[in-house]
């Protein structure tokens, strides 16, 4: 199989429950041990919630699959202690080039804002990522992984879900207070709850290949429209770790997926692209068709959907795994609060409210990129090519070139958990927005603002403030100038922090409310609102 990677095999272990025949009720059962399911388990663990992860297989993703990870998911993994490692091992890039036929049409620089802990984007094979997430789950006292456990059916009850699970030892029953279905685009759990999953299928096929080569290509994203080596279609080249390069070929709707996957068909395509002298080895090939779809509701009673099981997007712009990880970020603290009896179940409905909104935003971006890359008619092809031809010399046309916009978080600007601004603020940190990072110093050590946030609710203040509590939940104060030092003045700049300013920040590092002056009653009301306690 792979020449650069040995796929791990995780042992099936009979569970004590199945052996003894006694039924146990778990607070959370996660179905599917992909990047989203594993992140969900680790995030719940970080909030003190134990979970059981079931997977019908016993290894990691085959092939590179999700390749690009954006800053926000890296920040979430950093909160879980893995961000630095991923950033160090992945391939960082920020320059992209777009070619039309033989020529460079346009190049762009991601130009990430400086002084954030995490980079704008890394390329990292999904199997590496999953293997590391599995290790982290194995090291956690609060996560139990059960491989070769296939969920056959489920029944919803008022206060729990019954899961019928098949293992090599037969079928047994597991009970869960909550189920998080992270079983991917072809989710079977969706069918079990009768969820509608509709949207748009694109009549096109893509070949994706992982290739090993020691090439001189720079670490950039290269995208071709109608290149001489693959006429009338598009091609993408991206570098990954271990000298693996990922190549995506658009094939068109009439391509035969079985035929196109054969090495005798794939190798000449790649050779034509790289040139006759470049030596390479084929590592993995897949052909896929894509769709933009989402589930009608992310919550079906006690079964909650996350990742591709809840929403599927076309691959342009790295929106699949990246949004899935943000689903986990949103759900974990809400599940923890509801399980602890600190918030009503309506808080879980706000997961649907916020993440369905984000999914629709992503699907919009993804559909627009797809329509640009694969025009559906001769006239839209002409307009597309007009944009590309103009882009060579005309700056105005360059922003119209859409070879996939890179994934950035969707702020929950309309969320019912937000307390709308009453005071005027400048800048981007509107209620519902994920917190911007900035360098700080704490106890004489250099650090980052995001490392200080996300362990619970926080009052980030630029003046005196006092902790506020609602039920069992307390928002602790971090005062700039007292607890942390705004080393380069960027916290004040990015948050429009003036003396007295205070932000209420959610456990998922999103702004819930902000004021120019601390008032305990207002802060408490905003905390209640963010917990759906009114």
């Amino acid at each position: 199989m792979s020449k650069t990677y040995t796929y791990p095999s995780f042992d099936y272990q009979p569970s004590a429950e199945q052996q003894s025949g006694s039924v146990r009720r778990h607070p959370v059962v996660i179905i599917g041990a992909g990047p989203v399911g594993l992140t969900q388990a680790l995030d719940l663990a970080s909030r003190g919630v134990p979970s059981l992860v079931l997977d019908d297989d016993n290894t990691v993703s085959v092939g590179s699959r999700a390749v690009c990870y954006a800053k926000r998911p890296l920040e979430i993994w950093d909160r879980l202690g893995l961000g630095e490692e991923f950033a160090a091992q992945g391939v960082q890039w920020q320059l992209g080039k777009v070619f039309l036929r033989d020529d460079l049409a346009y190049s762009f620089d991601l130009l990430p804002e400086q002084q954030h802990k995490m980079p704008a984007m890394i390329n990292y094979q999904q199997y590496h990522l999953e293997e590391r997430l599995v290790k982290a789950c194995e090291a956690s006292e609060l996560v139990e992984l059960r491989w070769k456990h296939k969920v056959l059916s489920l029944q919803q009850r008022d206060d729990h879900v019954n899961l019928n699970v098949e293992t090599p030892d037969g079928i047994y029953r597991i009970e869960a207070q909550w189920v998080v279905a992270c079983d991917g685009a072809n989710s079977t759990v969706r069918g079990m709850v009768g969820a509608d999953f509709s949207g748009q299928f694109f009549q096109d096929r893509f070949l994706i290949a992982d290739v090993i080569m020691k090439a001189d290509f720079p670490t950039e994203r290269w995208f071709w429209f109608d290149p001489p080596f693959h006429r009338n279609q598009s091609v993408l080249l991206h570098k990954q770790a271990d000298n693996i390069w990922r190549i995506d070929f658009q094939l068109g709707w009439n391509a035969d997926p079985v035929e196109e996957k054969k090495p005798e068909k794939v190798i000449p395509r790649i050779q034509a692209m790289l040139g006759p002298d470049v030596e390479f080895e084929l590592e993995w090939v897949s052909v896929y068709q894509f769709a933009c779809r989402r589930i009608n509701n992310f919550r079906h009673q006690r079964v909650i959907f996350a990742g591709d099981a809840a929403h599927q997007v076309s691959p342009f712009g790295a929106r699949g795994a990246n949004t899935g990880v943000q689903d986990c970020d949103n759900l974990s603290w809400k599940l923890a609060a509801v399980l602890a009896g600190q918030a009503p179940e309506a808080l879980i409905d706000s997961y649907h409210e916020e993440r369905a909104y984000a999914a629709d935003d992503n699907i919009g971006h993804s559909t627009r990129a797809t329509d640009f890359i694969t025009p559906k008619s001769r006239s839209s092809l002409r307009l597309r090519n007009a944009v590309l031809e103009l882009a060579r010399s005309e700056p105005f046309a360059r922003p119209l070139v859409n070879s996939g916009r890179l994934s950035t978080p969707t702020p929950y600007l309309q969320s019912s958990l937000n307390t709308p601004d009453r005071d005027p603020f400048a800048g981007r940190m509107l209620p519902g927005t994920n917190c911007a990072d900035a360098p700080i110093r704490r106890d004489g050590q250099d650090g980052w603002l995001l490392e200080q946030l996300g362990h619970g609710f926080t009052l980030l203040s630029f003046g005196p403030a006092a902790p506020v509590s609602v039920g069992g939940i307390t928002a602790e104060v971090i005062e700039v100038g007292r607890d942390i030092e705004d080393a380069q003045g960027l916290v004040a700049q990015r948050y429009d922090g003036q003396p007295g300013t205070v932000y209420l920040i959610r456990p998922d590092q999103h702004v819930a409310a902000r004021w120019r002056q601390f008032d305990a009653t207002e802060a408490q009301a905003a905390l209640r609102r963010a917990l759906k306690l009114q």
Binding site: R382, L383, A386, L390, A397
Partner: protein
């Protein structure tokens, strides 16, 4: 601002001749491409999203209202 639907082009006959002349010796494919580029260039010049939406809707409605 709203879309100006009143005459606004000075020396309209000379303007029209210039447009036609610019397509001289182009294939139909090239001429269609030229018009597409012209539309994009002018859209960018206008810039106002509300005006552009109005213009796009007008062009479509007028086309649909015209018998084949």
């Amino acid at each position: 601002m709203t879309l100006n639907r009143q005459p606004n082009i000075p020396e309209q006959d000379i303007f029209y001749a210039e447009l036609i002349n610019a397509q001289r010796n182009l294939s139909d494919e090239q001429a269609d491409m030229m018009i597409a580029k012209l539309a994009l260039i002018l859209c960018n010049h206008v810039g106002d999203r509300a005006v552009l939406s109005e213009a796009i809707a007008l062009a479509r409605a007028n086309t649909l209202a015209t018998p084949d």
